[in-house]
Symmetry: C2
Subunit: 327 residues, 2 copies
Amino acid sequence: MSGGGEFDYIARRLAPLSAGFPGAAGLSDDGAVIVPGPGCELAVTSDTLVSGVHFPDDEDPERVADKALRVNLSDLAAMGARARAYMLNIVWPKDADAALRERFADGLAAAQAEFGVHLIGGDTTSSPGPWTVTITAFGDVPVTGAVRRSGAQPGDLAVVTGTIGDAWLGLQARLGGRDRLDAAHEAYLAERFTRPEPRLQLADVLRGHAHAAIDISDGLLADFEHIAKASGLSLTLALEDIPLSNAASAWLASQPDLKQARLDLVAGGDDYELALAVPAGRIEALRAGAAPLPLTVAGRFAEGPSGLQVTWRGVPVDLTKTGFTHF
Amino acid sequence: MSGGGEFDYIARRLAPLSAGFPGAAGLSDDGAVIVPGPGCELAVTSDTLVSGVHFPDDEDPERVADKALRVNLSDLAAMGARARAYMLNIVWPKDADAALRERFADGLAAAQAEFGVHLIGGDTTSSPGPWTVTITAFGDVPVTGAVRRSGAQPGDLAVVTGTIGDAWLGLQARLGGRDRLDAAHEAYLAERFTRPEPRLQLADVLRGHAHAAIDISDGLLADFEHIAKASGLSLTLALEDIPLSNAASAWLASQPDLKQARLDLVAGGDDYELALAVPAGRIEALRAGAAPLPLTVAGRFAEGPSGLQVTWRGVPVDLTKTGFTHF
């Protein structure tokens, strides 16, 4: 881990986050060494968050650290991997003060303790541009056991964990561009946007019961479409079956156009729930393994032209008129 | 690999760079899987390059890609690892046009072919800020065989590969802040700045003969000091023994203050040569293995207060008066 004039920060705040991972050499070396666990391969994933793009410029630095780790662990969860370690590349903004850096390190320390992972390396630098945080996360996945996007089979159920659209609503509230809800709902939605929950507890059951998985970052429609296309299948989702939280349902009840409002929720992204393809015979076993996290069936994969269709109360929705971008 | 609206670019230009690495799943998944080679651990390192900080804003995008890969492979070389794969996280500047992206992909393709590595994942996004390129590189290193900064022993020779200061001179020329040299020397120095040569061919001999190694990115003095401190030893370097290229020697001959000019060269950084600690009995074997790349002995590690001393013609240099920052 190098870092211009930041050796003190690295030594004082970041190096302690590598304690317990000998291959990180206390962040004092050119890089780390890592070995997959017995019988495992290493799953690797990397996401970059940019201030003003992925989080508001005035976001609490502790929450930035927390979210950067969470969105990467979410990708590991979607692969059926057990999280172990991460690298961190920071580009500080020019005006980053000591307080920002300290709170960022606080957030990182708390988040890595929660998920049992260790910092093993990376890089820090500064620029005149926005604050940029890249995390590369490492996890163990049993050999040939990684869950892929491309594994869906005809007849598989399209299954969603948790609820969808909360993060989008939380972001709208932050941006001030939406009708107000009651305080408890506001707080819940804000938390869903800021602190997505990587579904790591599902890693083992996914490998046992799911044919395909992806974490929902681009939006439920886009991410289910990724599975359908990668698997060469057709997928039809019933818009009214997409699971919503109480807070999202309360918002929905205030909307003049129910269909459009539901489309906004499922296109919004940043949910970090999982979209799955599950054989019908495995859904109950998967539910049992995932409990208390609810799983909802929202459609079915089939032979046919690969891609996504959406219905609303049985009637096909013309996605080209909804602002949804096909990938 | 995700990427907002960039799915076409990823599919057309980046996904082909993953061909030949099955664990990358054609960059179509949440992440990659990678297994160390037989008897090996995985060495991992990551560096971020920012436009206007690590390369000029008007740099050829092909060269940006090339350099981003090279500086990371240089870290693997310093660990004694064999390069295999890399992840790429790009933050495009807002004004990035198609030509920039195409040339960047061209540069990446050429560089990865030269070094025999594959792209296995990452992320792309855009921001209003400067262009930012993060590469995380993966290599194989035999179990317990990684060469570390902390392994120097009393009596070890301080050894440098190649020549030092060329990249700094090349950058000064780009910035226009330096006396002109003849055209051939200018071209050589510019190339040394833009296309550092990762010393990957030394990986095997380093593991056999060197006690410690680091790649010289912060500057020869700073990086040798990293080795000395990490190893808990004292190191004295003779400034006049630091190896220079013909081009750097020609520049030196035009300078009024030889000592200060030499200090500028060794503090400049971005050399991406290797600084090594080598037992005296192994230097000839190391030379034989490294040939035709020259190795130069520039000092010796000893018991004593850990840190760096520099002498000029036998007289200690007061580094606090030279602008050198102790880390």
